[in-house]
């Protein structure tokens, strides 16, 4: 799954024939004046101004401004870019659409195909009336018929001409989801434009399958983070490395924690995070390397982990690898540790190691040898259960 920001998300919906508000994305408030020459609607319509970033609850944070004319929109844009707190790099300006009722529609991937979700009550009301949301399963490879969708719309409480229009919209949404390798697409609110009665998507959550990127050459966007804040520089740096190496390296910062994680394996790493929190500790990050990545990639990941602020210990955990070379990947970690030590990043930081797998004896011996170089390091082999080092690290051996 990968989140697509509003601008490119709306473009995808538009590509498959769904009506969306007109919008522009700017990276500088000065661009608005020029854009308003080519896009008269910017001058003629009331506008909505939003920070075009993966930030949750933008309305509450003051990163959405409604009902602006061009001058007010330009001013709001300037203020958003000035905000040092959020570090906004893009702002989206879209036209206000006058409407009455707000509905909810979504399509969600399931093991058997997909489920269409539809509720006459949309906007903020949908959460309160979740039991009223109607579901329509679409088995894989069986496109829903217009008649069936009309019946579904009618069941959800739409009548007459509107039921037909909603059914048409559902058909387009399903096609978009299916053809664009969607995993989840939610339109809320879905409205009827007062000016001409066209069913219009006012806001959308668009998630597609990042693994399908190879067959979508027109996906000219990068994916946004899914945890309510944009990626940090260090996270982006690791994502970039991950995109071009064999195996994988992952890194997410969690400010405020004092236990850093540098474990191996997509499965074991989560057990390490669980163990730290279960023992009453706090984690400073999530990290993971697996699939026998090159040692330089592990070294770069180690560098990011050691650079986390306020950490007291680093957990270099891992299960017994099947094919990841412990000696080589540990060589990357050791190189990263040495660099961090020279830069003074490991003062007072304890390192706890547990690992098994190909060349485990050599890898663990190399880690143990770091003690002679002045590292505060504790090394365990496969005979110590997976997460016991977390107990030792937090509550003593």
């Amino acid at each position: 799954m990968a989140k697509v920001l509003e601008g490119p998300g709306m473009t995808l919906l538009g590509k498959w024939g769904m009506q969306v508000p007109r919008f522009v994305v700017v990276t500088d408030a000065a661009q608005i004046a020029k854009l308003s020459q080519a896009n008269p609607w910017l001058r003629e319509r009331k506008l909505v101004v939003k920070a075009h970033e993966a930030i949750g609850s933008r309305m509450k944070l003051g990163l959405v401004k409604l009902d602006c004319d061009l001058a007010a929109a330009t001013k709001a844009t300037e203020q958003m870019f000035k905000s040092s707190h959020f570090n906004i790099s893009q702002v989206i300006l879209s036209e206000m659409i006058s409407h009455q009722a707000e509905s909810y529609v979504a399509v969600q991937s399931t093991r058997e195909g997909a489920t269409l979700l539809l509720s006459k009550l949309g906007g903020i009301e949908v959460e309160d009336h979740w039991d009223k949301v109607k579901r329509f399963p679409v088995p894989l490879g069986a496109d829903p018929t217009a008649g069936a969708l009309e019946k579904f719309a009618t069941e959800a409480g739409f009548t007459g001409d509107l039921a037909v229009k909603i059914a048409e919209f559902l058909e387009k949404l399903y096609r978009c989801y299916d053809q664009e390798d969607g995993t989840y697409m939610e339109i809320n609110p879905l409205v009827v434009r007062e000016s001409d009665g066209v069913v219009t998507a006012l806001d959308a959550v668009v998630m597609v399958d990042a693994d399908a990127r190879f067959r979508h050459p027109d996906w000219n966007f990068t994916f946004a983070s899914e945890f309510g804040r944009p990626y940090t520089q260090n996270e982006l740096a690791v994502l970039e490395i991950d995109s071009r190496v064999k195996g994988s390296v992952k890194f997410i910062e969690i400010p405020g924690g004092d236990t850093a994680l540098l474990p191996a394996g997509g499965g074991a790493s989560v057990y390490y995070a669980d163990a730290v929190l279960a023992m009453g500790g706090t984690i400073a990050n999530y990290a993971e390397y697996s699939g026998d990545p090159p040692d330089w990639a592990v070294e770069a990941l180690t560098d990011k982990v050691c650079s986390l602020k306020g950490i007291k210990r680093i957990i270099v955990g891992g299960a017994i690898a099947n094919f990841t070379n412990v000696k080589k990947t540990f060589a990357g970690i050791i190189a990263g540790f040495r660099k961090a030590m020279a830069e003074g990043k490991l003062n007072g930081v304890e390192i706890w190691v547990r690992r098994g797998g190909p060349f485990e004896n050599e890898g663990l011996a190399a880690m143990r040898a770091l003690e002679k170089e002045g590292f505060n390091i504790h090394v365990y082999n496969r005979s110590t259960p997976l997460t016991d080092i977390v107990n030792y690290a937090l509550h003593g051996e």
Binding site: I254, A268, A275, Y286
Partner: protein, 610 residues
Amino acid sequence: MSIVANQETRVVIQGGVAGINAANRMAEFCHLSRLPFNVPAFVFPPNAGKTADIPYGSGLVSVPIYATVAEAVSDHPTINTSLVYIGAERAFDAAMEAMEASNITLVSMITEGVPEKDAKRLIQYAKRTGKVFNGPSSIGILSAGEARLGVVGGSYDNLIACKLHRAGSFGAITKSGGLLNEIMWICSQFADGITTAIGIGGDAYPGSDYTTYLEMFERDPQTHAVIIVGEMGGNLEEQAAAWYGAAKRRIKLIAVVSGFCQEQLPKGMKFGHAGAKEGTHGEGSARSKADALKAAGASVPATFGGLGPAIGETYQSLLASGKAKSIPGEEASLPKLPMRVEEAIKAGDVFVEPVLKSSICDDQGDEPLYHGYAASDLINKGYHIPHVIGLLWDKRLVSPVEAEIIKRIVMLSADHGPCVSGALVTIIAACAGIQMAQSVAAGLLMIGPRFGGAVTDAGKWFKYAVSNHMTPEDYLAYMKRNVGPVPGIGHRVKSLKNPDKRVSELVRFVKSAGLSTPHLDFALSVEKITTAKKDTLILNVDGTMAAILVDLKFPVESLNGFFILSRTIGLIGHWVDQNKQGSRLIRLFPYLANYTSAKRREAPLLETKK
């Protein structure tokens, strides 16, 4: 006993390097379990028609590579399983191809990063055709003592440590590859080991899930308990709990679930495998899964660390009820993995008679050592090419004056224009479109008794004369009697009146260097006698070089090398020159050939024997 994979399993591996690597690991397992190798074919269109040689025991098994699964299955009808190691973009087509083969009942996909839609379509097809589709992103499947599909189980030592050569009593199903290996290790330490261990992969939609395999384990009499390692996200663990709680089950279920950290992390902060995503409305949390499994009667330790004791406890109850018997350790009698020669030498276990001996250059370290000196060290300390020649041709660091003499010899012999034999041949070759190495080699082939190749012979005979205290007259008489023309004496165009400036310059420098030069002195005294007889019988450049180099104590065997080395510089230059000019093919005009063969005549009729 086991499920999914057993001794009858025969595998076609779809894939290139990764597939061959997996085959190597699988062959190690077959060797350990004393089973025949179970991969009769590969499918990898780019290498179709070739074979892959897989080490098995102390030999190699040649496994044919096919373009299509259909061809592989047709040639090897025992194949019933496919492992897919094809990249994500083509993995769907590869798996479909395998599933379309009627003999193949199990397709396990190792490929990571396969689009969800592709996995879902494969699941649908497998369901419709009654086949088992495992993965994507699966580490593999291992049935102890019977079959290993993929690299699951790691190194050979680990296979033995985890007692994977024979069946225990526990099944295992995980998404994570590392944790599957960890569970096999725990089962070997706290209990009697595993029957079958299956990696279903960590994607959002695993082709086969916990429930699929739990049902199979329930029917396998050897398996008495199954461990599942769950993760937040999706509802597969809930389905497993529902299956377990739906009826009285023969197998015991032990489960752990990861992702409790979600409860304390900022909303939306999700990580782990692709499938580890909570639903939009809270379903699929670690807690709901653990609660569901507990409610269904499974043993659910609070942490991963609690698994070992839980497995141990179950094993003790199996022993007490007689369902499991303790298995004596037999690791000592297991076949060893034949060591590679390098490892055996390193361990001091074998002696190998070397094929060759080299006494000048050692390349076993991070850079070559010339007679013990690292090239970079020599460069950094200001040594030059003559020192390298000294080290590699005579195993010594030459003195500064010797280095200067060698440098001058190389410089003055580097080229002698396009008309001499060597350069002419190189040029003709260059103009015929021949590549540099071959053209230059052709020129070098001309070096011999009449062109540039007399240095060694000249040195040899000067040395013979000086060591036998011969006078120049004795020497000339000896040569006339026993050898023939004196090597190093005489020139086609140079003479006393038209002296060779290269020779006079070299002699002047060597004489001024204050070295002891008995061979050069001898050669010059011979020249005095020969030029008295005939003007062109001068000491030529070969002879001069030879006498000087013998004075420098270079081995006689090396002497022609100085001319070959020097002239190579010129020959390369001629080749480059002709190519840059785009020269045309050289062909002699008939008037440059003197035709002396028989005049045209009629051939007689061919006589045929009766």
